[in-house]
Symmetry: C2
Subunit: 558 residues, 2 copies
């Protein structure tokens, strides 16, 4: 296989000569480690684990791994068997960027350098496909150095491929054998970690020595559990978005005539929106999970916004800031129903200009369709993905809401219950936040995750996700361990088969962050309690602050 033989091509890495001063300053910052990682440690097994749901099915899907304990690193000399001192480890980035990924890799690298001298770290390029195609770069001290505390995933880049078919597992096993790998670290979100666990199971089943450890990554913040308190990147991304929202708030108050509708990344869960709300205090925040729980309609969401705008107008405020999650319409049941019906109709019928096709919609869906702004109607009918389906993800929800609010306010104006002029401005904050310089928290958290992953592989663990806890305490007191990935899993039925998945952590309406928000939002709505965090600082009193969501979940009374 000639292609594979040349796969370890020399890849030019970053050069610090093109670094800005802020980037350079971050490079030279020394990272702290939890005390347990600074001294000799032993790995202590917890009790046997189960699954987040359907343990029977999970047990069948993971015969080699199911039930294995989660582990903790504790001070003291290891009594268990560590692997030999010349480890060969691969690392891969999977899925969307999140600030801190480079520090996870730095943490693994430093562990190997400091604890297993003579080891080799390979970086698989372009995500899991790099494992399958054996496309990698050997990570040396010189290569890794420029990426320390830097944003982006470009050290080895990422990808969205999955290793899931027999053929793909076979390819991965070939790579593992070829590189004589003792372990692979998969840095990714819920899907990628589910995959990591399947890979661990597959390798174990095949009798390969290659272990697999996961690391929790996603700015969306929806990969978390008791043992994995947060995914990295969430802290930084929210702080970047909050800086922008805070700026827009001061603009809104200064100009006095615009309603800013800010859509934030987060398709499946609304953690980013909730966190940014806690950081900035917008007048209105829509949380998808609440919309779904209350079975709200697009009309009721619109009416809520319109109601607030009218009340604010009476108080003399003809401006405001409204924050919504990217995935809002996915949370509205009637929209899902309409989309499903549209996909069916578009697949089989002709959309006639006279609109006779609409008769095929159920009455509620028809009503909803007619309520939508014309541009959205056209988008739904015209823009389809390669499978012919409506492209919900392409809908700019914030613009749709602006149009709907505008139309409804026009009605109110005609009735005389609204007398101002509504002007909406739309924003989408997304890509700006995925590759920013990681905050001090993300820098340190990722470094510990990576260093801990190194320790887990060194002690022969597999099928665990690197877990760093007690995050409200000083870094020295952070706990380090590994959580059995199977213990986080449930099954979903897809195409008639059970598929193991780590369930996404949604915003809990009974959780501390939402309750805190719910207790304050009324005040934020009518009074202006805007809070402007300003640009992310790396030195100074607030530079080590942790996001509200995590602190509240840790039990802080903020």
């Amino acid at each position: 296989m000639a292609a594979k033989a040349t796969a370890k091509a020399a890849v030019p890495g970053r050069s610090t000569s093109s670094y800005s001063e802020v980037q350079n300053n971050r490079l030279t910052v020394s990272l702290s480690l939890p005390s347990v990682l600074k001294n000799p440690f032993s790995v202590v097994d917890g009790p046997p684990s189960s699954a987040a749901g359907n343990p029977g099915e999970i047990g069948k899907l993971f015969p080699n791994l199911f039930g294995q304990p989660s582990v903790s690193l504790l001070p003291g000399h290891s009594s268990g068997a560590a692997l030999n001192h010349n480890l060969k480890i691969g690392v891969v980035l999977s899925g969307g960027q999140a600030p801190g990924g480079h520090n996870v890799i730095s943490g693994i690298f430093d562990y190997l350098q400091e604890r297993t001298k003579g080891s080799t770290l390979y970086g698989f390029r372009g995500g899991p496909a790099g494992i399958m195609n054996c496309k990698y770069v050997e990570l040396t001290a010189d290569f890794v150095y420029p990426y320390r505390n830097q944003g982006g995933f470009d050290m080895i880049c990422s990808g969205r491929d999955k290793i899931e078919t027999d053929e793909q597992f076979k390819q991965a096993a070939e790579t593992a054998k070829k590189l004589d790998l003792d372990g692979i670290v998969v840095i990714g979100g819920d899907d990628s970690n589910s995959n990591a666990c399947l890979l661990a199971e597959n390798f174990r089943g095949k009798g390969l020595k290659t272990r697999v450890i996961g690391c929790p990554k996603t700015i969306d913040g929806d990969l978390k559990s008791k043992e994995v308190p947060t995914s990295f990147g969430f802290d930084t991304a929210c702080k970047i978005y909050a800086e922008m929202i805070g700026n827009v708030m001061i603009d809104a108050r200064s100009t006095g005539k615009y309603y800013h509708f800010v859509r934030l990344m987060g398709r499946a869960a609304s953690h980013i929106t909730l966190e940014c709300a806690l950081q900035t205090h917008p007048n209105i925040t829509i949380i998808g999970e609440e919309v779904a729980a209350q079975k709200q309609t697009l009309k009721s969401v619109t009416d809520y916004i319109v109601g607030v705008i009218c009340k604010r107008a009476k108080l003399g405020y003809n401006y405001g800031v409204i924050v919504i999650p990217e995935g809002l319409i996915d949370f509205i049941p009637e929209v899902q129903q309409l989309i499903a019906e549209l996909n069916e109709i578009l697949a089989h019928d002709v959309v006639d200009e006279a609109g006779n096709w609409k008769k095929k919609l159920r009455s509620q869906s028809h009503e909803l369709f007619e309520l939508l702004p014309q541009a959205i109607q056209e988008q739904l009918l015209l823009e389809r993905d390669p499978h012919g389906n409506v492209q919900v993800a392409k809908i700019e929800t914030e613009k749709m809401l602006i149009e709907m609010v505008e139309a409804e306010l026009e009605n109110k104006r005609k009735e005389g219950s609204y007398t101002k002029h509504f002007k909406g401005k739309s924003h989408f904050f997304g890509y700006e936040g995925r590759c920013g310089l990681p905050s001090n928290f993300d820098s340190n958290y990722c470094y510990a995750l990576g260093y801990g992953a190194g320790a887990l592989l060194h002690t022969g663990k597999t099928g665990l996700i690197s877990s760093v806890g007690n995050l409200g305490a000083p870094i020295g007191d952070w706990t380090v361990g590994g959580t059995a990935l199977t213990s986080l899993m449930d099954v979903e039925r897809r195409h008639g088969k059970f598929k193991p998945v780590i369930k996404k952590a949604m915003v809990e309406l009974e959780g501390a962050p939402f309750k805190k928000f719910a207790s304050l939002r009324e005040e934020w709505t009518l009074k202006n309690r805007y809070f402007s965090p300003g640009p992310l600082q790396f030195v100074g009193p607030t530079s080590n602050e942790i996001n509200h969501t995590l602190m509240l979940e840790l039990g802080a009374k903020a």
Copy 2:
């Protein structure tokens, strides 16, 4: 006039209790002043001034002010007549927000406190309308304090009204008399400063004692001259946009599959786009002034982008970052022609579905119209302003370009000369940058502008714009003075009358910033020289850096 009697209502200002730590830290930073403002100074007249153009007409329009000298503040005791020590001064913010406005007001306030004890500063609320309606707040030490070094214009808010009719000048004069004003400081852009000069002339003509001094504000950077090296806000806004662009660049390189099209504020001039390019090194930067000078068409701009994308594809880069100014299409002559024809047709004819109306377009305009993406065509035909005109400003140029590039690349693919998949992502960075915490440069520059404006009023000057120079030197060595507003003016003929205007400073294709960009852009296009400034820092080695545009214009060899 009962309304006026109550106009000085108690206005609640900001409370620092709702401040973030970064905001609080900025509050307590002490500002530096140029040495000349720290000691006794005298105001020295320069030679008689002329006008930027048509001195004859300017002379007729400003019989009282034309020809007056610009002035410099020099160390030493004033030999001229200073006004008495109990000054009553008003200040007004005019036009769009720019970081640093609050510091101009703080500078005026501190001057009055420190040099003219017992003076009063009034803040006119909501822009020039506040002068006409005598709507103001008395600015006390407690009221002003929370706004120091803070973004926004909300201390007194701004507005876009103009004082230009006889009736409006009369209203302004009434306010000046009512409040017994010795002077007014107008903080605004080119238009607002033109207006300030008319107000100065009008008051002088009426024999009022009220003097008027302007201050150069606009993030767009298009109010500048030899004597007024930069407008405040430009520095901060560009740094905020550059942070975001830098993040997006790392994302582009990490993901490897998106072309990010970033539209930046700046309708009339492309300074922001040029500065952000110098700060971040995008693959493609479109400068409106160059497009206009080369009489480029929309097709040629599209072809240029498509050409670069194809070349990059051959080098293995299927991603990139493209930066364009908000006002791009205003710079393309054929688009202007099309818009003019459309306005004419829409005013008089029916737009029939069959498209017969298009026969009324000239052939070149017809061709251009057909080239436009459908959504843009519809927008041009459907969305009109209250005067029935096409709303050019509403066109999202970056999205239009993405669609046009996509269509052209599809042609190339059919020809076989392009084999990749193009995915464009659109961004607009605007409102995020207008109200950020001012950079150290803007904080200090604005404070000096305000303090200097106080000095100019104290020494009885009128019709000048506060001018702080030698900005490449340490703050202590900055020069302070006032430039005769009439010397910056030319006339434009509008509705058969001469109207005095400060000409907008466009990007000079022979100027140092553009030449620097032009010398580097080819390298940026095909090699990736992305530069990521990171978030604005207020302490540390780079926190006092000044934007490239200004440094290059000052003659720095960067």
